[in-house]
């Protein structure tokens, strides 16, 4: 589905002149947000390469920041390496709380990144003082925008266009028509009841899971030759007996 088609589908529910284009565009933006609030989906993935600064613990994640990322939503993973190296090493990101890391490390501890956490829009590295200008690679999810041209498309629009239309119609029924009962009909089509467990969002989540299954989860025999092949990211292994 092209963006123009999505606009026309939404317009047909409000009269072609009933919803001016500025408000319609806002409705489609809110529709996309409604979907993206329900999960971290494949079209939201991105990576960003930055460099650590010697003796600097905090790095901002925002437009124009150390990690120059617009609309950052969530982190997936963080890797580090020396600039001269060719292999990346994992940093344990977000699995230990801020206060616990402050207790684990002294304020003057130096070394390569071992743990990291994101506090609002700040990435904090532990040990607190990097001893080298390490390369950092952040894998993340970000809030996305609708295409700007009416003839453009993206993965959400192309394959799950009605999800975006439902989202915009919900917003229109609530904000423009103030018809909460009508909105609940469309809300049910988008996300089922309870919201997020059915409808188009359930289809998106199933597709998302299938993709993540290939990317991130490895079934590992607990005994036998397969043991030697298991991945070093221990919390992702599923052991089969």
């Amino acid at each position: 589905m092209l963006l123009g088609e999505a606009k026309d589908v939404v317009r047909e529910h409000f009269g072609r002149l009933g919803l001016n284009t500025t408000i319609l565009t806002l409705g489609l933006t809110e529709g996309r947000k409604l979907i993206e609030r329900e999960g971290n989906f494949w079209w939201m993935k991105g990576t960003y390469d930055a460099s650590a600064v010697i003796n600097q613990q905090d790095y901002s994640i925002q437009s124009g920041g150390d990690f120059d990322i617009d609309n950052f939503k969530d982190a997936r993973a963080l890797l580090w390496k020396k600039a001269s190296d060719v292999n990346w090493q994992p940093v344990e990101l977000g699995i230990v709380d801020h206060d616990e890391l402050d207790q684990m490390y002294d304020e003057d501890d130096q070394g390569n990144p071992e743990f990291a956490l994101i506090d609002n829009t700040t990435l904090k590295l532990y040990p607190p003082l990097p001893d080298f200008a390490y390369d950092l690679r952040l894998y993340f999810y970000q809030w996305t925008d609708n295409p700007t041209a009416n003839t453009d498309t993206d993965d959400l629009l192309k394959n799950y266009g009605m999800a975006l239309c439902y989202g915009a119609i919900i917003w229109g029924f609530e904000m423009q028509l103030k018809d909460l009962q009508g909105a609940s009909y469309w809300r049910n089509l988008l996300g089922g009841t309870p919201f997020g467990h059915g409808g188009e969002i359930a289809k998106l989540k199933r597709e998302n899971f299938k993709r993540d299954w290939k990317d991130r989860v490895m079934l590992t025999p607990h005994l036998g030759a397969g043991r030697l092949t298991r991945r070093s990211i221990t919390n992702l292994n599923i052991y089969c007996r």
Binding site: L2, D8, L17, T21, T148, T151
Partner: protein, 102 residues
């Protein structure tokens, strides 16, 4: 925000008239006028023919355009007596298959 919406098919040429009398009540003619069109991304778009002026009526043929694109046509006029500059904005939706009344 557009003042009016026009839906036309790509091959149609449709002359659009706007009478500036309500916006320029002290004037009887226009001393200057412009008509410009942009697409959704703000790029200039070739969807206009040659404009013409008769008294306070500014006319422009709407032509061409790409199916499923929306264009914003801005008609600007200056009153001879008042020197007021007023605008009328038309949203031009080019659709091949969308039919029926708007």
């Amino acid at each position: 925000m557009a003042d009016d919406v026009v839906v036309k098919r790509p091959n149609e040429i449709q002359t659009y008239d706007y009478d500036f009398t309500p916006k320029l009540p002290l004037d009887a003619a226009l001393s200057a006028s412009t008509v410009a069109a942009v697409d959704e991304e703000g790029n200039s778009a070739a969807v206009l023919g040659t404009k013409s002026v008769s008294g306070l009526i500014l006319s422009v043929p709407l032509q061409g355009g790409t199916d499923q694109k929306d264009y914003t046509v801005t008609m600007q006029a200056t009153g001879t007596t008042s020197a007021d500059v007023r605008e009328w904005v038309v949203e031009l939706r080019v659709r091949r298959n969308l039919q029926g009344v708007v």
